[in-house]
């Protein structure tokens, strides 16, 4: 309970009955084969890896109307935390990632990573797109190498790391393939390897599995959870799928629709590794979903209104 004591209006969601047995399930780890998949996190109160303070974004639509996309977002993401952001489409959750990646600038407010203000894109914060983020003119290996090349790493180091990260996502044999020769799931794993290869502190994932079929998505959840535990990265994961968010996140942030605000936060304290079909995951997702439903209705109403006007 101490971990979320400093998070305002967060709601701890504990499993109905504590399942201590599952906490000690042996999992793969970097140091030894028996490290638990739950990373040990000692949060100092106030210490934040990513810190968004009073971030707002407004822009003009094509019709000239001014739209408040994000409204005074305050968010602290802890070192090594797996944070999921859910919200209806159009709530500005992807835009939030673009702001952290500095691909877009906020109208007001500040974004800090390790207490440094974010002003330009940097390889400490790598964004993984929903799809089509790979460069089709490069091979899989060259794609993974790209960020390292831009960083100016030596050829031999690039080769070594490319091999390492392709192995990490189980795609070693596909180093010389072209992205279009791979399936959607494989492509997203390449994107993950490409992002990890620059060794970013923060991984920003923008609905990375939304375009995949259910089985592939399940497998990639396991993969991502494993890689997260092994590398200890901070992950900010945007999705519209509440179950996915509860399955993966330490914390789930629910955003409201137009203006995009943080409506509520949920600490997910279910033991890892989790599974999408687990009762606890479903029950927790249910609670988040009840809150989300209002926002989805609002977004649908706005959509229909747009349609009627058009």
């Amino acid at each position: 309970m101490t971990a979320n004591a400093n998070v305002a209006n967060s709601v701890p969601l504990l499993p109905a009955e504590p399942r201590n047995a599952s906490r000690s399930i042996p999992a793969r780890g970097r140091s030894n084969g028996h490290a638990a998949i739950v990373p040990i996190r000692n949060f100092e109160s106030g210490a934040a890896k990513v810190w968004l303070q009073d971030v707002s974004l407004r822009y003009k639509t094509e019709t000239g109307a001014e739209l408040l996309a994000l409204d005074r977002i305050d968010l602290k993401v802890r070192q090594g935390e797996f944070l999921c952001i859910v919200g209806p489409s159009g709530c500005g959750k992807s835009t939030l990632l673009h702001l952290i990646a500095a691909l877009q600038k906020p109208t007001s407010g500040s974004i800090r990573v390790d207490d440094e203000y974010v002003t330009a894109p940097g390889t400490d914060r790598i964004l993984i797109f929903q799809e089509h983020g790979l460069f089709p003119w490069l091979t899989v290996g060259e794609n993974v190498e790209f960020g390292m090349k831009m960083k100016g790493l030596s050829r031999s180091e690039r080769d070594e790391r490319t091999r390492y990260y392709l192995r990490l996502v189980h795609l070693s044999q596909f180093k010389d393939s072209r992205p279009h020769q791979l399936s959607g799931g494989m492509r997203q794993r390449v994107a993950l390897a490409r992002a990890l290869a620059t060794e970013p502190d923060v991984l920003l994932m923008d609905e990375p599995f939304a375009a995949l079929d259910a089985q592939t998505r399940d497998l990639l959840h396991d993969e991502l959870e494993r890689i997260w535990a092994e590398t200890g990265r901070t992950i900010i994961f945007v999705t519209h799928n509440v179950r996915e968010a509860v399955r993966l996140g330490d914390r789930v942030v629910l955003m409201s629709f137009r203006p995009g605000r943080i409506k509520r936060e949920f600490e997910v304290q279910l033991p890892r590794p989790r599974h999408l079909e687990e009762v606890d995951v479903a029950r927790t997702a249910r609670e988040v979903l009840d809150d989300l439903r209002d926002e989805i209705n609002k977004s649908l109403e706005a959509e229909y209104a747009d349609e009627n006007r058009g």
Binding site: T123, L127, M150, K151, G185
Partner: protein, 294 residues
């Protein structure tokens, strides 16, 4: 050697993942090719050979029947003879060389200028609204209409021909570049910047390769326009070249030569299209796994 050792270590680390690996492999293996491409190509070539043999046969038959006098409708063999003689006494070689030299200079100029103009127009709102519109309207002007202006400006000179070629293909290259730059999916530039590319490196490693399909189709279109403009200009300026050889055939009332030179013009245009542009497109298709636009 050190890397190999560390790799082995990493392999053993993930040995326990073989279950996941197997699952991943079974759900997401790429499809294997199904039909033999060689077989298809052979069949296509055979069909083409039959078609062209039939065309030649009909032509020969019509000539043999002497429905029209030979000075109006020459036989394929007498056209073949003129082609043979033309290459033997080097007059066709010289004509082709002169034409291709102009082509390379004029087309080269229009590619360089067209790329610069296209990028400028695509990246500047003011230029797009002004120059962009002007270019589209100028594009509707057949390139032969530039001939009188060129003659008055440059006289009956090499420069005038090059000017006509330039005006003929510059605009199509520019417009294709501009379209390409605008249609370029935003995600590539975002991904590139996100991975640390900026400024020139962003242009060189991301934007340029990302727009290759558009560039190739622009260059191809530009070549076709340049080729037409050049032959037209040569027919009017009557300086050494394929266009002039064609007009010489008319002046001498030599139908054999007229047809022979026409065949040359078609063959050259087709050859460049096949060898240069189709090849480039095919390479792109194989790499990108998609049909480039146009």
């Amino acid at each position: 050697m050190k890397t190999v050792a560390s790799d082995v270590e990493k392999t053993s680390l993930y040995a326990s993942d073989s279950g996941i690996q197997a699952k991943l492999a079974s759900t997401s293996a790429p499809a294997a090719p199904t039909s033999s491409p060689l077989h298809k190509t052979l069949r296509k070539v055979a069909r083409q050979v039959i078609f062209y043999a039939a065309v030649l046969g009909i032509w020969a038959l019509l000539a043999k029947l002497r429905i029209w006098p030979p000075y109006l409708f020459p036989a394929p063999w007498s056209v073949g003879e003129v082609l043979w003689d033309g290459f033997k006494d080097h007059s066709f070689w010289i004509g082709i060389a002169a034409t291709m030299k102009r082509m390379l200079i004029g087309y080269g100029l229009s590619v360089v200028l067209g790329m610069i103009l296209g990028l400028a127009v695509a990246s500047n709102k003011f230029l797009e609204e002004t120059l962009g519109g002007l270019m589209v309207s100028l594009q509707s002007l057949p390139s032969i209409c530039w001939v009188p202006l060129a003659i008055l400006w440059f006289g009956l000179s090499e420069k005038a021909i090059l000017f006509v070629v330039l005006m003929g293909s510059l605009l199509s290259v520019t417009i294709a570049m501009e379209d390409g730059r605008k249609q370029l999916p935003k995600i590539y530039s975002m991904a590139g910047r996100n991975l640390g590319a900026r400024g020139f490196r962003l242009f060189w490693y991301v934007l340029l390769p990302a727009s290759l399909p558009y560039i190739v189709s622009g260059l191809k279109q530009g070549w076709a326009f340049a080729w037409r403009s050049l032959i037209q200009a040569e027919m009017i300026f009557l300086t050494l070249g394929l266009g002039q050889l064609l007009m010489a055939g008319r002046d001498l009332n030599d139908m054999n030569q007229v047809i022979a030179v026409m065949i040359l013009i078609i063959a050259l245009g087709y050859l460049v299209d096949r060898l240069v542009f189709r090849t480039a497109e095919r390479i792109l298709q194989n790499r990108w796994g998609l049909a480039p636009s146009i």
